[in-house]
Structure formats: C-alpha cells, structure tokens
Amino acid sequence: MNPPYPGLKYKIEGGKEFWEGPLSFVARFDSVRVKDTFKICIELSPEPGEFPLVMENGGRIESLLARGKAKRAVDLHVNPNSTICFCPKPEERRRFHGVLDLKRFIQELVIPYFFALHQFEKTEKWIWGQYSHGHLGIMEYYFDHKSDNDTALLQDCLKAMGFASGKVMENKVQLNGHEKCPCGSGLKFKKCHPMALAGLKAIIKDYFNSDQS
C-alpha cells in the first residue's frame, strides 16, 4: 500500500487501521519557512468520507504543556483524547465535499497545523490565528465564511453547535452584546468575543430567513 506521505507506515491494530511515523515537511507561508518533523499517528475511520483522527506522539505537544507554554491541551487544539482539531467541522465539508483524500488531508490540514505549532513553539502565538473554542468558534467561522444563500454552511454550523437538540440555539438567542460572554470570562459578549457575537447574529438572521424556520 502506498503511503499518503513518505515516512508513514501502515498498520492494523485492534481492528483499526493506522498510518504512523515521522511527518517531515518543508513548507512556506508568506515569508515564513519551516522545515520540521513531527511524529504522528493517523487513525483511519471505517466510515467513508469521515475524517481520520490524528495524534502527535513525539512528545512536542506534551513538552509545550509541561513547559507552561500553553495552559491546557485544548489551547493547542488538542482534544482530551489527544486527537487534534484542525478546523471547525463545517470546514471539513467545505474543503473536501464528503470525499476524503488522505494525501490532500495531510497537505491542507495536517501540515499547516504542525507548521503553526512549530511557530507557536517559537512565538507562543498562532501564526494565522485560531478560532475560539466550542460554539464561539463556530460562530466566528460562520461570520468569516458566510455568503448569501449558503444554506449548506448555515446547516453545518447549526449542526456543529448541536442545533438538532434545539437547546443550544434557544439559549443563545437570548444573548446580546451586553450579556456576559458564554466563554465564562465574566466580560460582556461584545467586548470578549465580538466576532462570535457577529457570527451569532448572522446565524440567527440567516436562520430565520432560510428554509430552516
């Protein structure tokens, strides 16, 4: 089987499929060039089109946390199960339209994440920014990417925020800019996460204008 990226080796363990090994890349963003190697493990999903789970198992993320460069794993966009969050869920569909090409996945999401992590190790900043955690990030994402009549994006964002349960939106609809920010900071929403507030307002407006209502 041809590896999706040189250096990665295929294995089956516990009925699951993996690509594991060193991910070595040379990449450039604007005038910043990074040459680095991260040890990773990619767990393939049995569902076609579903994103694989990726973990960094070379200790670099662990080292950042141990040195106090980030307070929590989630601040490095790492889930409690050590898998990495490369992008908001709706971005997966936008980029890949339900068809997962592993090589493209590595080039467009995995390498850029590790490029940014390399820069974070040096500067403690995310070079091209990051979305806020949880639903706030989805709202920011919606605000960044919405365009007229893009009901598919609206659907994806609502789904990412758990709209199917109905509960999230009910809660959020009551919030406005002067309310306390849902992130728990104690600050006003419009001061603390203004882009998320803009995204929420856009979501609500587009929701009531779309076929969803």
Binding site: S24, S31, P88, F115, Q130, H135
Partner: protein, 292 residues
Amino acid sequence: MTTKEFFEKLLSSQVLLEGQLKILSDNRAEVEGFLRNKFGQEPIIRYAGSKAKGTMIAESYDLDIVCYFPSSEEESLKKIHDKVQQALALKYLIEPKASAVRIKRVDNQVETDYHIDLVPGRFIDGSTGDAFLHVAYGGEKERMQTNIDTHISYIQKSGCQDAIKLMKLWKMRNNVPIKTFVMELVVVAVLKDSKTKADFSKSLTEVLSCLSGDIETMRLADPANSNNIVSEVMTAAEKKETAVKATESLNIIADEGHSLFGWQKVFDEGVGSGIWTEPIVIINPSKPHCNI
C-alpha cells in the same frame, strides 16, 4: 528532476504572491503618506533595494524606500536623518541603523522579520541622481555619496538577477552574515562576463568559490561612487564566517559529486532519508478549532 529543474523550481518558489506585493505597495503608500504629512511634497520618496532591482525573494523580503530632500534643503544631513527618524518614531516601532531608519512590523503583537528600511538623504544638485546620506558606522566618516539609479541599473543590466536571488536564498537558509548589497556586488563581479550565467550549478559554484577564497580580502566599490568601499561595512568576523559557510557548501557539493542531491542539501531542501517531499506553499490555511 534535473539540477536545472531544481534551480528553476527554487526560483519560481520565490516569486512574491499577490498578497505579499500588496503588502509592499500598501506599506509604501502608508509610509509615504505619513512623511508627506510631515514634510510636504518636497522629498522624493521611492522604492530602492531589491524591489527596484528585481532581486526580491519571497522567503525573505523587506521594503527599502529612500526619502531624499532637495539640494536646496539647508539642514545638515544628520539633522535631516534625525528629523525623519523622530517623525517615524511617533507612529512606528523603529530601530536606527547605520544609514537607514528601520520600521519594524508587529503582527498580533509578535514582531515579525518583515521590516521597512527608510534611508533619508539629500540630493547633491538640482538633479535627482547623486545624493548624500548621513551614515553612522562609528568611524570618522559621517557622510556618504551614492546614487540609487546607478545601483538599480548596475544590477538590472548585469543579467545576474536570478543568480543573485539564488545566492540570497542560500544566505538565508544557511544563516550567512554577508550584507545583501555586498552579495549582489560579488555575484556581479564573478559572473558579469560569464556566458553561462544561467547554468546555475556552474555559476553558483563560482560565486561560492569567490566567497570561500576572496571575501576576506576583496574590495568591492560602490558602482555609484568608487570612494565607497562597500565591503568595509562587513566586520572581519562576518567575512570569515561567510567564507566558512561558502567552503562548507562547496564541500557538500563536491562530496555529492556535483549532483542534484548536493545542491538540495546546500539549499536545505529536506533531503537525506527519503522521507521528504516537495516543499509546499501554504495558501488559505484553516484556523484550528477545538469544539469543546
């Protein structure tokens, strides 16, 4: 891939993207607008450096601008330099250099490598050619005469722009402390009469050989003023280290039999254990997000 294709790919990877070019033109417009507010329409403000010469590389670019007052300006060169510096300090994070004022860029509160070097000066006569600059190299000389049109023309007519770009890339990737203008003059001195400039394997080997054997002793004059010995702006230590790095690169190339592999190593293009692929340019990356 052949060695020729490798160099062509390197060169094409260094073409500035539209976004980068826009940053340069926006920054120039912003700085020019600010200076016009302060000093009116009199100073000539224009591109200098690699943008004007056609030797800019995407991996390490900055903006060079000159701000030359007319010859009728009565203030001393030092006063001109200081007033421009003080004006810029009101708006920007600046760092004084020997003849330039460096405006540093800060993105997301992180200081980036990109910067704008602005050189204040005064034209010598009524033309817009020769100019005096105030210089602070620490010696007795505080004034230098030069002409950026001559510099630009010298580089453009040399036919060596691509070789210069490749050597700038080599400098960057190997942390070589040679001044960029000195590097340009070395490349032109070595290759100007060469009929095989575009054979980069051959021509870069010649330039590296010059850096390895001669940089510590060669005297490179400013094409606009033979009294300015440009190579004197480098310290002995910088010249020595440049020679060492050039020698190391030559040894790598020789050890690898002048093959593609050797050049890939010299340009740090990720070779060695067969686990690297072609360098990628990240465009439109996704911001990470944790849905927790």
